[in-house]
């Protein structure tokens, strides 16, 4: 039985309005899932801060496995675009190859615990796992290709000169009982912070669900239309939105007839690449590296879109 059935009952009891009913059901379900997952992420973050992940990656030669590790670490690290510059420099400064650093940067905004919860809650586990695999693959392949292009000289020169002091964050050894509360506070404050964006996304998604006729988009965008995927990706590149806000909207679009791969290409382009991100990264990358970084990632996103359209029903 669906464990969320009681929420459905609650929504049905509160309102018969399609959009509103849909909103209540999704919002309550997602908020509950978020509370749980943010608690666990607080634990992971406490024991595995990004500095530790970096030191692990820099600790030895990895013979290619590091692309996968870098990309995977990107999925468990909470990512704020304000941190991308210090992360970029910090990784390179620790001796991590440029390609691996880029693998991390590509995957990080695409997958985080909130995106996974939204995906699972709205699309089901199968699509979620495929999405996470696609995002990790995007990072691995993108980072690998970029490393083969030998772009190190297009990293801003000052980056190579920075030497950081090895400044371990003061280790806070606290009794476990205290930690349980600490994790709760951390998880809760994070949940609170993202709630408005989640609700906004679910709200727009609910409006689409309630007021746009079924199959509406099929007239314009079909999986057979060869150009739909590249257009969706390229239109999405300059735009910026958090994964959290885009996923519910994307679900409703898919429900109304947009092919999954096309919607996903759009979503990945919006979340993973953006004009603001380009402006931030320009401080550490020369224009050529930036163009390659965006270009190759976009091409890979388009390929992922085609693959989803072809194989995922």
């Amino acid at each position: 039985m669906d464990i969320f059935y009681p929420i459905k009952l609650l929504a049905d009891w509160l309102t018969p309005n399609v959009a509103l009913n849909f909103f209540i059901y999704d919002a309550v379900k997602i908020m509950l899932l978020l509370l749980v997952i943010n608690y666990f992420m607080a634990i992971i973050r406490y024991y595995l801060p990004v500095e530790k992940l970096r030191d692990f990656l820099a600790s030895r030669k990895w013979y290619g496995v590091d692309y996968l590790l870098g990309s995977f670490f990107g999925t468990i690290t909470p990512f704020c675009s304000c941190s991308s510059i210090p992360l970029f420099i910090g990784f390179l400064e620790a001796g991590i190859p440029l390609g691996v650093t880029l693998s991390f940067l590509i995957t990080s905004p695409l997958v985080n615990q909130v995106a996974v919860v939204l995906f699972a809650g709205l699309f089901g586990w199968k699509i979620t796992i495929l999405y996470v695999m696609a995002a990790v693959l995007l990072g691995v392949v993108g980072g690998f290709i970029l490393s083969k292009l030998k772009l190190e000289k297009y990293v801003a020169d000052y980056v190579w000169q920075i030497k950081s002091q090895k400044n371990a964050i003061i280790d806070k050894k606290e009794p476990f009982v205290k930690l349980i509360k600490f994790f709760w506070i951390e998880g809760w404050s994070f949940t609170k912070k993202i709630t408005p964006y989640v609700l906004l996304g679910i709200g727009v998604g609910a409006l689409i669900h309630g007021y746009i006729p079924a199959g509406f988009f099929e007239k314009y965008i079909t999986a057979e239309n060869f150009f739909a995927v590249p257009i969706a990706a390229i239109v999405g590149v300059p735009m910026y939105a958090n994964a959290v806000g885009v996923i519910p909207i994307m679900r409703s679009l898919v429900e109304k007839g947009v092919p999954l791969g096309t919607a996903m290409a759009f979503m990945m382009a919006v979340v993973g690449l953006s004009l603001p991100a380009a402006l931030i990264l320009k401080r550490v990358m020369k224009i050529k590296l930036l163009v390659y970084f965006f270009g190759i990632t976009t091409i890979n996103i388009i390929i992922i879109g085609y693959l989803f359209n072809a194989f995922v029903k």
């Binding site: 973050r45 990004v50 970096r54 910090g90 920075i162 003061i170 931030i280």
Partner: protein, 80 residues
Amino acid sequence: MQIQVLGSGCPTCKKLFERTKQAVQGLGISAEVEYITDIQRIVEMGVMQMPVLAIDGKPILTGFVPDIEKIKSLLSAGKC
């Protein structure tokens, strides 16, 4: 005591700066709160996640914005 808040000028970082100033006022300690956005200085400190709260050049908190009470307790712990 030198208190520093490091960030790249994003809203999250500014919030930590505001809260730290309030915490210092609330504690009644005479310390200057400095807001650092220079990327070079941030990386030199060895931290990678914004925002950062540091006392006398040592980071004591990275990656998130706690409430004022938490900042107060961190500051008073760092004092002695």
